[in-house]
């Protein structure tokens, strides 16, 4: 747990403490309840209705993703073709009993496919973002702590990656490695959800690295680092035990804020046809499929679109709430 510093002292513990007007001054000070930083964080977060709402939606989407096979078990499989739900011209039918979201152009239960789409989005959200976070935090810490040549190398790498044309490169990478049956590099890069995750992680780690680097640069000048060093701590120890805990808060916040971007990134790639493979349900691909038939099968666009929208919104709200709660100076 982070050591408390003057700058991070909870600022609202004083006024909130109940004061017994009849107590003596000594008792007053004894009745001032000190709250741990986590308790303070939770109180601030709890007060933010939007963030709580977002958190509920996130939990709900998680539940849907986890329960997708169960939902399928009770209704229909995600790849089951129901020809009887297409009319004699092959036109899909909309919301009806047994198919609350209607069917898609292949006669598959859209509700079940939307539920499975949540799995794809959440997998990307956590795996791709987690990977980006791992890389970004590590490199950011190294850059900020060691400075000098290490910093130069990492910072210039960040600049280069941020300058890369994202869509063009994704197109190229996924086309080269995603379409040939054996993938790239002798089968290491295989097409599928993993490839898309790597691509997304590749383009998002620089944001976190920069933030972490900035934090570390300012932190390393603080006295507690000097005192730890004078006590004989190695660099690695200092990084892990002194610096890292103090950048944990921004890392959590910005990782959470990157999640919705990555969800939309995967949706965009799938929309363009270079995302997850055809059979993997993905909200982005479902939106792409819905485009040409929008005028007569509106449900194919409405439901995946709504789910994508609310999931992204929910993560944004939670991230904002986290930031406001963890570091009130940046909040509104």
């Amino acid at each position: 747990m982070a050591r408390a510093h003057v700058e991070d002292a909870p600022s609202d513990s004083g006024p909130d403490a109940p004061i017994d007007p009849e107590a003596t001054s000594v008792e007053v000070s004894q009745q001032v309840v000190g709250r741990s930083p986590w308790e303070l964080f939770w109180r601030r977060f709890r007060r933010d209705k939007f963030a709580i709402g977002g958190a509920f939606i996130v939990i709900l989407i998680f539940a849907i993703a986890l329960l997708a096979p169960v939902i399928a078990g009770f209704t229909h499989g995600p790849n089951e073709v129901h020809l009887d739900r297409l009319d004699s011209f092959g036109i899909p039918t909309g919301p009806q009993s047994g198919f609350p979201f209607g069917v898609d152009t292949a006669g598959r239960d859209l509700m079940v496919r939307v539920a499975y789409g949540a799995r794809t989005s959440l997998f990307i959200a956590f795996f791709a973002t987690g990977l980006a976070s791992l890389i970004g935090v590590t490199l950011g810490m190294l850059a900020g702590f060691y400075r000098g040549k290490v910093d130069t190398l990492i910072s210039r790498t960040i600049d280069v990656v941020l300058s890369l044309p994202v869509l063009l490169l994704s197109l190229g990478l996924v086309s080269a490695c995603g379409l040939s049956p054996n993938g790239c590099l002798g089968g290491i890069i295989k097409p599928g959800l993993l490839l898309v995750s790597y691509v997304i992680a590749l383009f998002t780690w620089p944001y976190l690295a920069r933030i972490v680097r900035g934090q570390v640069l300012s932190l390393r000048e603080k006295e507690f680092i000097e005192s730890a060093r004078s006590l004989g701590s190695t660099n690695r120890r200092i990084m892990f035990r002194e610096v890292l805990p103090n950048v944990a808060a921004p890392i959590i916040v910005y990782t959470t804020l990157i999640i919705p971007n990555n969800i939309l990134f995967e949706a965009a790639l799938s929309f363009l046809g270079i995302g997850v493979p055809q059979e993997t349900p993905s909200w982005g691909r479902q939106l792409a499929d819905a485009g040409p038939v929008f005028t007569y099968a509106w449900w194919m666009m409405l439901f995946p679109g709504l789910f994508l929208f609310f999931t992204t919104l929910a993560f944004n709200l939670v991230g904002d709430g986290l930031r406001d709660a963890l570091d009130p100076r940046t909040g509104g």
Partner: protein, 644 residues
């Protein structure tokens, strides 16, 4: 990128009010979704109620006049170069309008005689020697070219000139010059070994004598193809006006039919080829404008009524948009579109609109093809089982239902066999919906089903590499195919590609694609040879095209491509034998080949004989289907007089 994180990336973030940011992201997402929805065809349904006072399908004299306005989704495949164009859309424009050939067609259906060769530049069908090696054509006189060669008449030497260009591999790249190797000396000329084609003689300007290397019953059809359309002479250049235009002759095309490109009169062939300006009436990727050829004499023709004064074709756009325009009366038709299901439904069910809906067999077949060198498809029982298990009716539903074609029970389209096999369906199932029980009985006989329970249990049946087309409705069809074949123990790893890429992957033996889910094949000319040889002849394997099943592949080829299987059944002899027949015996030969393929070789699961389905505007009061190209006979589209 999230605005907050971007600011934070600069330093320790001190964002503005969090609430404002939250609303910003909400608004941004709403805007994005709105843009997605708007971009994806938020057009209103085209008005179907444009019931004017004009009579539809009016009886009475059809009057020439008016300009037909058409939309076209994609451009022609080789900028109108007749030696390169291997695309039925372009062929439809050559036959009806731009180019005449020694023989041609009448632009009507098979039943009306649309597949029977008629004399066009020739005055009669050719005389054939008794050994079948020599064909003599006599040409009509008085056939003039379009501008700027309006006073030049077509001679037999002009036909030879076209064939010499066809023999040049550069000029005919992407085309079909392999058909003409049967002409003596054609290949030698193309390789530069001779300075003329030995088998083509022109004793005088109106006679052409063609000598073959071996009898070929399909030869007359070859002289109805646009690659043999005459090329006018120019000075003494060997290739006439096409000299110097190896890559782009189409943009300088001199017409010989009732129409020419607008602005053809401004073509200036007096300057060197590189300095010449292309014709204004064709802007690649943008538009095509055809006008009447002022030098055309209808008395020398008889195949082309040529009603419209001209055609304005706009290239590009979205399929749904174009059909909305047709419904609204802003366009007369779409050249290469696919009628969207709701439009098809509207036109099929509304009696006032039905006369504008035209459905005709296009002489194309849609099928699934097996690579017979990859297990489990090296086992004929597996291939037969898959023929029995496929829900062909369901496959048709995805394409738009009954109107889009007839369930295919065999490989060659019926017209090419003179309907000899019209009722032949060796793997017929009730309602063509597939019969799992029958399929399992067949699978039980396979070596890959060791316990004979009708379900494949060998590892070769898992994760089979399958390739399909990424465009609609092929992915939906792939879902159905997998659903049909899964109870037989087969699972697939389906990869989707853009169409031309898909075909090349299916054609490449080294790609080891086991099964191809989305190919289709149409005839090149109305003879069974154009199905038999390119699809099942051993010479049509890579680097040639299009024998994806490796039928007749040699052990050498198989081992070079990395296969363990050492032989695949061949039908080369049967193709050759059928090809040497003529008349009814020829039809019977193709029918027998089809039967052999379906029952003994089983390289495919054919599922649909395609229809061409199209809708036209109200003011089009005459329509004819050109069976040769599988599209409308454009020159027969007559416009109602009051709408001209």
């Amino acid at each position: 990128m999230d605005p907050g994180a971007a600011r934070a990336a600069v330093g320790i973030g001190r964002g503005e009010g969090g609430y404002v940011r939250r609303y910003l992201s909400v608004l941004a997402l709403v805007a994005v979704l709105g843009l997605v929805a708007a971009a994806c065809g938020g057009d209103d349904e085209g008005g179907t109620g444009a019931t004017g006072a004009t009579a539809t399908g009016a009886t009475g004299e059809l009057q020439p006049g008016g300009t037909v306005e058409l939309g076209m989704l994609g451009d022609v495949s080789a900028s109108f170069d007749p030696q390169k164009e291997y695309y039925s859309v372009t062929w439809s424009w050559y036959r009806c309008c731009l180019l005449r050939t020694l023989l041609s067609y009448t632009g009507v259906t098979t039943a009306e005689g649309g597949t029977e060769l008629q004399p066009d530049i020739a005055s009669a069908l050719p005389e054939i020697s008794s050994d079948g090696l020599t064909y003599t054509f006599t040409l009509k006189s008085g056939i003039n070219y379009g501008d700027p060669f309006g006073d030049v008449q077509v001679t037999s030497g002009d036909i030879v000139r076209a064939l010499e260009r066809e023999a040049d591999p550069d000029a005919s790249v992407g085309g079909y010059n392999f058909y003409y190797n049967v002409i003596d000396g054609f290949a030698d000329f193309g390789e530069g070994k001779a300075d003329s084609i030995a088998g083509l003689e022109t004793p005088d300007d109106s006679t052409l004598v063609v000598t073959l290397t071996e009898p070929a019953g399909y030869l007359p059809y070859l002289f109805a193809m646009a690659a043999t359309a005459p090329i006018p002479p120019l000075n003494d250049q060997p290739l006439g006006v096409a000299e110097g235009h190896t890559r782009d002759y189409g943009r300088f095309l001199v017409a010989s039919g009732p129409y020419q490109f607008a602005g053809a009169e401004n073509l200036d062939f007096s300057v060197p080829a590189d300095d010449q300006k292309p014709v204004a009436g064709y802007e690649p990727g943008k538009s095509i404008q055809l006008v009447r050829n002022p030098n055309y004499d209808p008395a020398t023709d008889g195949l082309r009524p040529a009603y419209p004064e001209g055609f304005n074709i706009t290239i590009g756009g979205d399929n749904n948009d174009l059909y909305n325009k047709v419904q609204a009366g802003e366009l007369d038709g779409v050249v290469d579109g696919i009628v969207p299901p709701p439009v098809l439904r509207t036109y099929s069910t509304d009696p006032t609109l039905q006369p504008r809906l035209h459905i005709n067999p296009s002489d194309a077949v849609r099928y699934i093809s097996f690579n017979m060198a990859i297990p489990p498809f090296d086992d004929v029982h597996v291939r037969k089982a898959l023929n029995l298990a496929l829900d062909k009716e369901g496959m048709r539903t995805f394409r738009g239902g009954e109107s889009v074609g007839e369930i295919a029970g065999h490989i060659m389209v019926n017209a090419l066999e003179n309907n000899l096999l019209a009722d032949y369906d060796p793997y017929a199932t009730p309602n063509s919906a597939g019969d799992l029980t029958a399929a399992q009985e067949e699978m039980a006989q396979s070596a890959y089903d060791s316990d004979g329970d009708g379900v494949c249990d060998a590892p070769e049946c898992s994760d089979i590499l399958a390739v399909t087309d990424e465009a609609d409705p092929y992915p939906d069809q792939a879902a159905l195919i997998q659903q049909n074949y899964e109870p037989l123990g087969l699972t697939f790893d389906v990869k989707s590609f853009e169409r031309t890429t898909m075909y090349s992957k299916c054609n490449e033996p080294e790609a080891h694609v086991a099964i191809c889910l989305a190919p289709a094949w149409g005839k090149d000319f109305p003879d069974g040879y154009t199905f038999a040889d390119p699809l099942f002849g051993s010479a049509a394997i890579f680097p040639s095209c299009c024998n994806y099943g490796l039928v007749g592949a040699s052990p050498d080829l198989l081992s070079k491509a990395g296969y363990d299987i050492t032989e695949v059944p061949s039908v080369d002899d049967q193709i050759k034998a059928a090809n040497q027949q003529t008349g009814d015996a020829r039809y019977q030969g193709w029918a027998d080949l089809d039967t052999t393929l379906m029952e003994q070789v089983v390289p495919w699961v054919p599922y649909l004989f395609d229809n061409n389905v199209d809708v036209y505007s109200e003011r089009i009061v005459n329509y004819s289907f050109d069976q040769f190209s599988g599209l409308a006979a454009w020159d027969q589209l007559a416009i109602a007089p009051e709408a001209q």
